[in-house]
Symmetry: C2
Subunit: 427 residues, 2 copies
């Protein structure tokens, strides 16, 4: 099926700013609450949100095999489970409906009143019910930096890292969309030089700049997904902030990995950008440093050129960009991650979320966490308002952004905006 | 509300064998497929399965505030979300309906035909949609044995173990009920003395004898659950087999914990025994060896005296019991686990599952895994059929059982029966 929705020459009859993340070539999917308090599945062109449930009821998807209520749901899971052929047909149809040369909806005022929303009339929700959340650790630069900073592993990559797309299971219940504020976690830490732990607010709350992909139903219990088929099961990507409490992590993580240091919150961007929309931005992955086992050997370009940045905005002040990185730096790509995750027969479902791990690049300004950017707090970052940051302060807002750009077309992810509130106090 | 369902003197008009795990004092909850291919929520007395959806439609729960379809669902999540007051009212009512002195249903032949099933007429399902699965590591004997066997930590408990109920996140998607067979996983391992990993079937597939508890909706993002309130949010318990591939685990687990070594499968018993039914079997937890931080300090008896055993049945042969343990040995109890899990504000939902970690007791026959029982394969176990086992062979069936017994009343969990099939071959 041709990806007509990607036609770079297409214009929409909806207004799109030149620097918008959401031209008609993007067509992401999300879930929002409307001014009428109805939850629906939607897309976005420019700064206009589009109610796909209403469009479907009005007959605009006629001819595509879809159940009547497929968009009248509070998550995308069922739509994603319909598979790639359906996603493509719907995305192509949306491009057609909003094409500057098509005036069917454009000239139907009453339909437009039902279907179109300004962004201030809607409230974005978590787009999927996340069954399982896995977080990889796939940036060589990040893994090397962490080894150096912790200083407990000969300051180098661990022995398995160049063979395994290392990952751990995270907590789905604390994943929230952009706009939901979170609280500084409390927990056990071991103060420097102490032998007994203390309890209190974490003193080193950090972000981790990540991308995450959302899967469809992929395999039965026991069945591996071959690396070159893996992308068939990837619906799309979001920006992801894997919040971390470094002091809690340091005391708890041996031998079973991070737990309370991570599961107090993770934040994601609410619009899922399809893998199809990212097709023009494919690039080669980094060359393997060591031979990889056959089940991890892939053909073609499996990485994506996605510019990423992180800003910190202190309360009442302007933001300071503290990190600029790119998703293309990841040593292990998504196809390898999914092949590895299922090589033992682990089943993957619609709505599962897989984080990339911190996206650190080769240069110091491209490191994807404060742990690395400030080298464990030794080199604080100067903010525009004159203050300094080693980690994230109470009432700081952390903003993540990401976009692809090529030949004048920009496909973006929007933002994750999250404020870190002080420790929770029961009302 | 009195726990009248626990009255030890009550008899049922349904037949119950003397050694049954399911006397009228148990009344567990599960989900099954009936002879008419209908999924319903049910309970069990003796060897009779009871369709609660049908009972509710016939008016037997009148007066208890329940939605019409609360039992006509394919998971218990909504019923569990209704909270403890509702669980108790329903359990007490079931005890009343099936009491030997109550002949309303007993004498209604047409109702009985709709409501009652022989066990061979039903197929047990996974009782909950598991949102998040957490596995603890709460047996001191197990943690000590593992430290000794791995020999990489001064042969002793790690520094944090006596302060933290250590846990990691597991994979929900591969949790299956008793009766579902699983496949031997493939993966990367590092052969002894080698520097490069190889790929192939795991050579050391192991069980881990655990209990797991199922929660109800407990807290908002950011809000901790106090240790002495934790049991309010525990619906009930099941037997749990945390299948493990030791050779895969050894190569992959540093630094982020077990991943493919565990997520190929976990098995659970299908009937959830309520915490209320276990009330008579409360016992003191082991005394703390080191002082515990205030958020982990509890009052009263928070452990449960539950006898556990594991048997291995080779293909076509009789089973051999290889382990006898008890849940009361766990150093960290469920209240401490839930308080710890939420102290950083991590939200807990209806249907979340929390494994205890391997239940190893103080004596060699009470160790809850082959890793410990055979001391990493150095001391193979003799089977009744003359063969030996270091780990689990292809086509072996692993059976776990558990029950409480006191003053002539036995409350049991039934069994987990799982056959380990050879490596998956695509049909």
């Amino acid at each position: 099926m041709p990806l007509s929705a990607n036609n770079p020459d297409r214009k929409s009859w909806l207004h799109v700013d030149k620097n918008s993340d959401f031209p008609i070539q993007n067509i992401p999917f999300g879930v929002f609450l409307t001014r009428d308090d109805i939850i629906t599945i939607g897309t976005r062109i420019g700064d206009t949100a589009i109610d796909l449930g209403a469009l479907h009821q009005l007959g605009y998807f006629d001819g595509i095999p879809l159940t009547d209520d497929i968009f009248l749901q509070d998550t995308l899971n069922d739509f994603i489970a319909d598979g790639r052929k359906t996603w493509r047909a719907v995305r192509n149809r949306i491009a057609h409906i909003f094409d500057a040369d098509n005036d069917t909806l454009k000239n139907n005022k009453s339909h437009k009143e039902i279907v179109l929303f300004r962004l201030d009339e809607i409230e974005m929700q978590l787009p999927v019910q996340i069954g399982d959340y896995t977080d990889f650790y796939s940036s060589k630069e990040h893994a090397t930096n962490v080894a150096n900073i912790l200083g407990n592993t000969n300051n180098d990559l661990l022995a398995n890292w160049l063979h395994i797309p290392v990952a751990y299971h995270g907590r789905s219940s604390s994943i929230v969309p952009s706009g939901i504020n979170i609280h500084r976690p409390q927990g056990q830490t071991l103060p420097f030089g102490a032998t007994e732990p203390v309890f209190g607010p974490s003193k080193s709350v950090d972000f981790e700049l990540e991308m995450a992909f959302i899967t469809t139903v992929a395999n039965d219990l026991g069945e591996p997904i071959p690396v070159n088929e893996a992308e068939e099961y990837i619906f799309g990507l979001v920006l992801f902030n894997d919040w971390s409490a470094r002091d809690i992590q340091k005391w708890e993580y041996i031998p079973l990995g991070p737990f309370l240091a991570k599961n107090f919150a993770s934040s994601m961007s609410p619009w899922i950008v399809t893998l199809d929309a990212l097709e023009p931005y494919r690039v080669e992955s980094p060359k393997p440093i060591k031979p990889q086992l056959p089940y991890l050997q892939y053909k073609g370009k499996k990485s994506y050129d996605i510019n990423l940045e992180v800003a910190i905005q202190p309360q009442g002040a302007k933001e300071t960009v503290v990190c600029k990185s790119n998703f293309k730096h990841m040593y292990w790509n998504m196809s390898q991650q999914l092949a590895h995750h299922t090589v033992n027969g682990c089943p993957v479902n619609s709505g599962d979320l897989m984080g990339s791990g911190t996206v650190s690049g080769p240069t110091p300004e491209s490191f994807g966490s404060m742990l690395e950017l400030t080298w464990k707090g030794e080199k604080p970052i100067k903010m525009k308002d004159g203050t300094e940051r080693k980690f994230i302060n109470d009432n700081d807002t952390v903003i993540m952004r990401g976009y692809c750009e090529k030949d004048g077309t920009r496909i973006g992810f929007g933002e994750i905006i999250t404020k870190l509130l002080p420790v929770y106090v029961k009302k």
